[in-house]
Symmetry: C2
């Protein structure tokens, strides 16, 4: 890949396609497209393009391939791995999908919604709600994340346990290839065994194989019953046992099982306005149990009672509260979703988004904690997350009184320590956030050469000029 | 691809790898590997190899790539599209996975089973049952189908509605590449966003990209409640409305919704020993409704009652029976699963395995029926299947008294008529059986050139020598 600054003529060609109002070059205009919220990376760009149609995307990419201009597709820019922002000093052109934000069709009988990739996730949720259906993908950033980005990162979030991640929620895609051709795979079929699975190749490819411009997403009947409980637990082992009981008793009605440490409760009650500890007693660990039932509100009540009775009877649950209203349910979820922001006022935080087989969570947590505390005595481990999916956000807050800069300088070192334990348990160094630039070289180091080689061959087969989001997922050749 | 008959030296090299007992060359020995049960295709082979380890598979493929010898992987040989049998007069070597039939590990807490690709599906079901878990894939051929074939065809079957097809049931794969390298993707993770989705590329690739040798499959808690109802209906429209009520009332507890025509009931009661019409009344259409609940047997009873009450109240259900025992449930399912074999004594049968968006099923059925009867007056349409998945086995029995040979000679013509209506409704010409040789040229004709081109590029990237199951899915170049 060359990284030549586009000539004025080339910028003019791109500008002609989208119109001058949708081609940004001023430093102030392009600034919001350059950095993610965590601020680990800051890219540069000579040009941000905001196409208004699939055809415009196609024309942009055709020119980009012809001129070997690097293109970085961007949705809501809510990523965490520097996959959707341009590289530093490489003259990447940013392609924002924000104007492609039309809901094309919604079919409640067929349980599908067809939407442009630039639609905001919350708008998809609202549209589904408007026809008495549920679109279950649920993220902290749902008010600004766009579904093209959700697809490109195979987003997860809070409802994966019952509904799966974005891969499971998508039936069809429309993709503009790097060479400008449009692949129309906007199928609405639950079963379709006709050749290679192109859809799942684009999902999770982080924009390196083409630009997703539209998608067919699944809708679901709205649950009639919803119940949330919050349980105080002595250990992660007990949490695993309780999860096993809950999933056996509830099956697919178990829509969430979130693990939280005492430290996370302390951080959220201390720093997040309105968050209160729902219990009078103190426990080392907590589980948020979310149950949704199709048939009736009573069945959700019955299920939550049976889970808690089993948990108390077996000595797994030390104390528990059940939400008495949707408002109380929301308050419990708000506490869970505040775990990450509540760490900010405590100083620097080194983050990990890892997964291990569910049955290995207790062993993983014990070993990772020991390794982290050995390397950094006083580190405050705030590991929480989607226990039912084996996905732990293993975050480390700086020791009290430590120098934040010095602490953050140890980011890679602490990553290596935690990821070594993850790999010991055949886990993943990126459960839901993806690879981007942040984990690219680490991925290449931990995966077998043949796996990286297969990925490279796919990249080359789809993007021979290497223009699509270069240096993300794989290092550009 | 050349199609030279392997030299005696080459046959000796292959034989050295597996041992003489596992290298078959006699006409009688190789016969069972050459034809599928439907008998539409009959291939030829100079050699059937039965490797006993992943390493043996790897050594065979390395030699095959070096010598450009075509390899046809075969599981239980229960396919319907001539994807797992050798081509005619091409000297393809058959690679049977039947000896790789070891269950490597089973973890009920982690809800996974790790197995060799040659394990028989029913053995996986039994192993799961032995640790109080469910492996939900359920097919008519489960007593002989092997999971490598289930994966390579992305098998569907009776439980897709609630549990998904094989793609959704697989967490990880081990694959031997055409060049002999082994890709170890045997991950047990529910969430893992680390690069391109190689797993889903191999699933459904029908053995054209590599040989699946092992897999990590998901297990589920066993349902505590199970209930089956059988409802008589006036029309396909009413069946769709009833399905909508049932899925809204039951959510993921609705584990089956099968549609059957009156003709199918007549065929099964006439020809299949032990099958009796469970109702005294006659109806144009029938639905088999299968409900599984996690929490209790009572909740399944409650759900089935509420579905039938809603259906009767809204005038959708003309008559209904509910199974009073597991034996009665099995008898209802046996009737459904006998629909296809019951057509045999009625003479020739032209088959279609199609899907359309669920909400388009009534319109599709009406138009397809009209087109078929116009082309062939007296044709007896026996269209049944997985309504909840939009998947109809649209089978046509010959007119009474017609000449079977002359009828079957119109196979392609009738396919074209039915598939034209399928495509009008953006449907699939192969919902669950795959492409193989049977639908290969039709796929190339109906899909956009860029889609076929992307598939070709993937094929070339994975199998540069073109040795893996050539002429299946894509025509060999």
């Amino acid at each position: 890949m060359t990284s030549v600054i586009p000539s004025p003529e080339l910028i003019a060609s791109f500008t002609d396609i989208v119109g001058p109002d949708n081609a940004l070059t001023g430093a102030g205009e392009v600034a919001p497209y350059l950095a993610e919220s965590r601020g680990l990376y800051r890219g540069t760009t000579p040009l941000v393009l905001k196409p208004g149609s699939v055809d415009e995307v196609s024309r942009i990419l055709r020119i980009a391939t012809d001129t070997r201009t690097a293109i970085v597709p961007q949705g809501g820019n809510t990523g965490h791995v520097a996959g959707g922002v341009p590289r530093e000093d490489k003259a990447d052109v940013v392609l924002s999908l924000e104007r492609l934000n039309r809901i094309r069709d919604i079919d409640p009988v067929g349980n599908v919604i067809v939407a442009d990739a630039g639609c905001i996730l919350a708008d998809i949720q609202k549209a589904a709600d408007g026809v008495d259906r549920l679109f279950p993908l649920s993220l902290g950033s749902e008010g600004s994340a766009r579904i093209g980005g959700n697809l490109s990162t195979n987003a997860g979030g809070a409802a994966v346990l019952a509904y799966g991640n974005m891969r499971q929620l998508c039936l069809g895609l429309e993709v503009v290839l790097p060479t400008g051709e449009v692949w129309d795979g906007l199928r609405r079929l639950k079963k379709d065994n006709t050749g290679y699975d192109l859809r799942d190749l684009f999902i999770g490819a982080e924009g390196t194989l083409g630009v997703i411009t539209g998608a067919v997403l699944k809708l679901f009947p709205k649950p009639r019953g919803h119940q949330v409980a919050f349980a105080g637990l002595a250990s992660v082992e007990d949490a695993l046992e309780l999860f096993d009981r809950a999933s056996s008793l509830c099956g697919p009605a178990l829509t969430g099982f979130e693990l939280m440490p005492r430290l996370g409760i302390e951080f959220t009650t201390r720093h997040i306005p309105g968050v209160r500890d729902p219990m009078g007693s103190v426990h080392p660990w907590y589980a948020l149990i979310d149950i949704s039932t199709s048939d009736s509100a009573e069945s959700a009540d019955r299920m939550v009672q049976s889970v808690l009775e089993a948990g108390i009877g077996d000595g797994l649950v030390e104390n528990a509260v059940v939400a008495r209203s949707e408002a109380q349910s929301k308050a419990l979820w708000h506490m869970r979703e505040s775990m990450s922001p509540a760490q900010k006022p405590e100083g620097g935080s080194i983050k990990h988004d890892v997964s291990v087989p569910v049955s290995s969570i207790p062993a993983f947590m014990a070993e990772a904690d020991a390794a982290v505390l050995k390397a950094m005595p006083g580190a405050r481990i705030c590991a929480f997350g989607h226990m039912g999916d084996g996905n732990i956000h293993y975050n480390i807050s700086q020791p009290v009184g430590a120098d934040t800069r010095a602490f953050l300088d140890r980011w890679r070192e602490m990553n290596a320590i935690v990821h070594a334990v993850v790999l010991k348990y055949d886990g993943s160094i990126s459960a839901e956030h993806g690879i981007g630039q942040l984990k690219r070289d680490e991925l290449a180091a931990i995966r077998s050469p043949i796996e990286i080689e297969l990925m490279r061959r796919i990249k080359h087969a789809f993007d021979p000029a290497g223009i699509m989001n270069p240096d993300k997922v794989l290092r550009a050749e």
